[in-house]
């Protein structure tokens, strides 16, 4: 493992007009890690990911990806560079088929043969998508949509995957499946993962390190295991 972080935020500020959602976020993700960001509703977790991806413009601070400053890189260039996000609420393309959704993940690629192979590979990883490949994305169940969203992002061939609340609105058994898949993607496909979750318990179990965000600032940073046993965290985020 190299010592240079693959993704690094230094004192990042951003927001929506007069609303300052991020007030100095700094964090590091090392290659091959799973890092969790936990925090209450409205803490600024999604905004952090959207700022990394260039959808929400950054106001102050620096974002480095793979050693390069990406503050000014526009959103659509990032998948080409290997940085991709599975947004909150999945946001698959509802009236396009499963297959079309996957093809859009490979939008920036032109290696058609390899794309077809990768689509087959997605079907192997998510057999349910293979069964539903001609079905419209919007008619899939919540869990299936989440799988499709992850599979679509994997089609971009990411080095770093940002996941925003993959457990949102899913039944416990499905959540378990999704998290197994996340672990698998991290190990087998060698994808570094930055995971945002409300479900702190799950996230910290899957991750090696974690950050706690409160009203736009990082208030705590530690090994996932220590966060899990930290009494303050247990009280605030694990409901004890």
């Amino acid at each position: 493992m190299s010592l240079q972080p693959i993704l690094e935020l230094k004192n990042v500020h951003s927001g929506y007009g007069s609303i300052k959602a991020l007030k100095g976020i700094s964090l590091k993700v090392m290659p091959g890690e799973i890092v969790a960001i936990i925090g209450a509703n409205g803490a600024g977790k999604s905004t952090t990911l959207m700022t990394i991806c260039g959808i929400v413009p950054i106001e102050k601070g620096e974002i480095y990806y793979d050693g390069k400053l990406i503050n000014k890189v526009s959103a659509e260039k990032l998948p080409t560079m290997g940085l991709c996000q599975v947004p909150e609420g999945r946001r698959i393309f509802p009236r396009l088929s499963v297959m079309e959704n996957l093809r859009l993940g490979a939008f920036h690629r032109d290696d058609t043969d390899q794309i077809m192979k990768d689509i087959q590979h997605s079907y192997e990883m998510f057999p349910i998508l293979g069964e539903r490949k001609a079905q419209q994305g919007g008619t899939l169940s919540g869990g299936e949509q989440q799988m499709l969203a992850i599979a679509r992002a994997l089609m971009t061939k990411p080095k770093v995957l940002l996941l925003d609340e993959p457990s949102l609105g899913l039944a416990p058994i499905i959540i378990q499946q999704i998290f197994d898949i996340i672990a698998k993607i991290n190990k087998e496909e060698d994808v570094t993962i930055l995971l945002v979750e409300q479900n702190a318990n799950l996230a910290l179990q899957a991750a090696s390190r974690g950050y706690v965000v409160e009203t736009g600032e990082i208030t705590l940073e530690d090994e996932a295991q220590s966060l899990l046993t930290n009494p303050k965290i247990r009280e605030a985020y694990l409901g004890e």
Binding site: P79, P94, L96, M99, E100, R103, L104, F107
Partner: protein
């Protein structure tokens, strides 16, 4: 069951009384102040009788007392369906093209005239479909680009004497530039806002055409535009090409047909390309598209520009056909009409749009005697459409077909 019937009958009665209330002011109140009832009652009773029969059939069918007829009918319908599925698509296209080719021989002058109008609107509908159906941006000022194309040819031809075939690409180009100018500042807007801004821009272009006296001759329009000129091979004294003007309506029909076919092929190819995929992703979810690496700005601008190019080319043909252009041909009503055709036919579906155009142009021509009821029928058709076929007459076959083709 009985309860349900009661409810249905009640609604039916209310509906018929309401229709009477609606019909009488239109038929019974005359301009000279006299009131009559005779005509209203007669027409109303016809409608009553007709709808009663339909209604009875419907009820008997839902009560399945019609099995003996319904079964064979549905079997036949299924048969037709499977037969149509068995024949490959190119057979249908060939049949359609052959029919279109011999059409002017069968139809008279008037029929050909209507057909040319239909072909123009097909080009417009297909072009607008790129913006509305594929990229999902509601554009209420689309006809302005048609106007820009028409005026480009008119001005270049009348003032500078340039030939049609030189002007055609120039018309496309100016429309494209106009599209970019309108598109560029509006691209940040979505949904309702975009619709209103495009409406405004469409009107601005029309008003410019109306007021720029020195260039466009204002509301008087431009007269004396030359028709299309072509070189026709002649065999009389050796083999020579002779320059002739396409003045005959029948000849012009073939040019309009050619344009419509070119437009259809162009739109089809765009739709099935990487560009089409990008457009559809923008329509579905712009942010997600951006996250997947689609440059939404460029592709939205491209959608505008391509839509405008198709309209501009149609505009040049329109000017050549009419030999006269004036701002009146490019009002908001026209934009709304084209949009109706696209929505009625089925957004994103080429055969659907063709059918939509035929339904909104040709049928009103056929029912010309109804004159003042045309708008009533028009409104009723739209409502019925919304109820029964909300996705259009021939909805786009989105689900998977395109992908499966690629895979196979």
């Amino acid at each position: 069951m009985i309860q349900e019937f009661k409810k249905v009958w009640k609604q039916y009665t209310i509906g018929m009384v309401w229709l009477l209330g609606l019909l009488w002011p239109m038929l019974g109140i005359h301009a000279d102040g006299t009131l009559t009832f005779q005509k209203t009652i007669t027409i109303w009773s016809y409608i009553l009788a007709g709808s009663f029969v339909c209604f009875m059939i419907y009820i008997m069918k839902s009560g399945s007392s019609f099995k003996f007829i319904a079964d064979p009918v549905s079997r036949a319908a299924n048969g037709v369906k499977s037969a149509s599925a068995a024949l490959p698509i190119w057979v249908w296209i060939t049949v359609a093209v052959v029919l279109a080719l011999i059409y002017p021989q069968l139809a008279g002058r008037y029929g050909t005239d209507v057909a040319i109008t239909v072909l123009f609107y097909i080009c417009l509908g297909l072009g607008l479909n790129v913006v509305v159906g594929l990229a999902g941006m509601l554009d209420l000022g689309y006809i302005a680009f048609y106007g820009v194309g028409a005026y480009t040819y008119a001005i270049l031809n009348v003032t500078y004497g340039l030939a049609f075939w030189v002007c055609l690409p120039l018309s496309a180009l100016t429309a494209c530039i106009a599209g970019c100018i309108v598109g560029y500042p509006t691209l940040r807007m979505r949904g309702d806002y975009l619709a209103i801004v495009t409406l405004g821009f469409g009107e601005i272009i029309r008003i410019i055409l109306n007021n720029w006296m020195t260039l466009t001759n204002g509301p008087n329009g431009i007269l004396g535009i030359k028709p299309i000129g072509i070189f026709w091979p002649m065999f009389e004294n050796g083999f020579t090409f002779e320059h002739i003007w396409v003045k005959k309506l029948q000849f012009f029909y073939y040019f309009a047909l050619g344009l419509a076919i070119v437009t259809a092929i162009g739109v089809q190819r765009l739709n099935f390309s990487r560009v089409g995929r990008a457009w559809e992703s923008i329509r579905e979810d712009e942010t997600a598209a951006e996250l997947m690496g689609v440059n939404t700005f460029i592709y939205k601008l491209l959608a505008y520009a391509m839509g405008a190019v198709f309209a501009g080319m149609a505009g040049a043909f329109f000017a050549a056909r009419m030999k006269f252009v004036s701002p009146e041909s490019f009002t908001f009503l026209e934009s709304a009409m084209v949009l109706c055709m696209v929505v009625l036919g089925g957004m994103g579906s080429i055969p659907g749009i063709i059918l939509g155009v035929v339904a909104l142009i040709a049928l009103p021509e056929i029912f010309r005697e109804l004159e003042s009821y045309r708008m009533l029928v028009f409104g009723a058709t739209m409502i019925i459409m919304m109820l029964f076929r909300p996705a259009g007459l021939i909805p786009a076959k989105r689900m998977g077909t395109r992908s499966e083709e690629k895979e196979g």
